[in-house]
Point group: D2
Chain length 155, copies 4
């Protein structure tokens, strides 16, 4: 009973300005090459960014419902170093690398849990848009929450 | 130039009340078992239903925008007989098996193109909903278009 | 440091013969209807079955590598009652409903965490195959582990 | 009958060293933002590369089965300019931008069919690997087929 109440829906935490999310590789993530399908690393990356934002108190659904502000990926650079495989426990590390006027930079790595080096690296530019798809400044409330955990500043 | 203009975005046609859609299996559709990931047959089935409706003149986006009517899958029964594999050219056969007040029945098979027997069979109940998610009758305009191609009636 | 070591990759547990897995709904799971794409409930269901098996000590990769035995979904019946939405914390409940010679029955529900009633119900027949895709008996080692947690027997 | 035999599984063609593939956007491709889920553009891109290779006579399954050579994506740079939406007919343009020893560069755009400007641009480095995952030279048979359609050379 108590175990049930304590059980979270996800397994992430913040450490030194970097958010760490654990995720398992299931059949749905793999392809006939026997490894994770390359596009699916962007899914893991998005889960990591979402949980990062949630952890620092930024609710994307509230932002869009109340302020009409949306985050969209504007650009991603993905280095596929080594493949992840079925059953792997992955660790998605996410940190904010910089905040500009209407966008922010996110640096992410995906590694096997406990491993020293990563499998995949994803650097993304996230833009803020209004309901009509026009660029708007990162809201102050968001910026202050991101600043506090800014990976660059925390070192 | 003319080749370009003639080139369609999809490759489907209607034959004797049954709609046939061709689709290729790509890496994205497969899993580490070397075959199509089981949930993805529902994707192929939905492509088949969508192109069936488009072919008989039912535009789902118009229906939802103009009449506030949505189609949702209420129930699916899937028999996975044999697996499809990377590079297979599949043939998705779709026919309407019956129309009730607020729903209709769709019978679909997925086979290798040119094969006599199917790999997977998907029987689905599709419900009509209004904007608030309440059941509504299948619109007359839709019913008359489906009736004309009703697999049961065409035999 | 210790938080990191304690952090699991997934969040599941067994209670009274039923396995419960928590999972978050991300953008990747949704569609333009604003809800979870219907085929993706089969993904959540497969995650639930995988973690059930892992929890009772059945490793699917060991089974296939060492004994040449594979589990495949032979049939699924899915009732889509109500949709899950972005950011929902879902609870996937999995129990074994019966074991036959070369297959077993799994009953699953997907609900919002903490809710009394489910959104989606998935009943599946899982078959055991050898490397050539022929049906084989459920291995004794697996059967004894499933029996112990058989939902039917635990009542 | 004859319509059936003529009907291809995919709809692509080569024009001036650039391969063009048409593809429809289905619900499966979209997300709750009402647009194509960002990771799924990599799926469209991979379909385009696969059909390009098939069109110039390179069979990836034969290559891996007979010569033990695999193509993997080593790096992708994706610019998300504008979103694609449900029902859009997309045109995926693929051209080879250069061939090095053990890899080749592919430049791709995804646009609405008939549009002058693209929605998304994907530049990828594709590496050749042997069965053990070590880099190997692009096989001569592949290189000669790519050279003939090399986008750079064809101008």
């Amino acid at each position: 009973m108590s175990e049930r109440q304590l059980q979270p829906a996800v397994t992430g935490f913040m450490a030194d300005g970097t958010h760490v999310l654990r995720a398992r590789v299931y059949y749905e993530d793999t392809d006939a090459g026997g490894v994770v399908y390359h596009a699916n690393y962007l899914r893991f990356a998005e889960r990591g960014r979402t949980e990062y934002l949630r952890d620092v108190g930024v609710s994307q659904s509230e932002l869009s419902d109340e302020e009409g502000v949306y985050f969209v990926v504007r650009r991603s650079v993905i280095d596929f170093r080594l493949p992840a495989r079925l059953d792997d426990a992955l660790e998605i590390q996410t940190r904010i690398a910089g905040i500009k006027g209407a966008s922010f930079e996110v640096e992410q790595t995906i590694a096997k849990a406990g491993a020293d080096s990563h499998l995949v690296k994803v650097d993304s530019t996230i833009a803020c848009l209004d309901r009509k798809g026009r660029p708007v400044r990162v809201p102050k409330s968001v910026k202050s929450k991101l600043d506090r955990h800014d990976g660059a500043g925390s070192r």
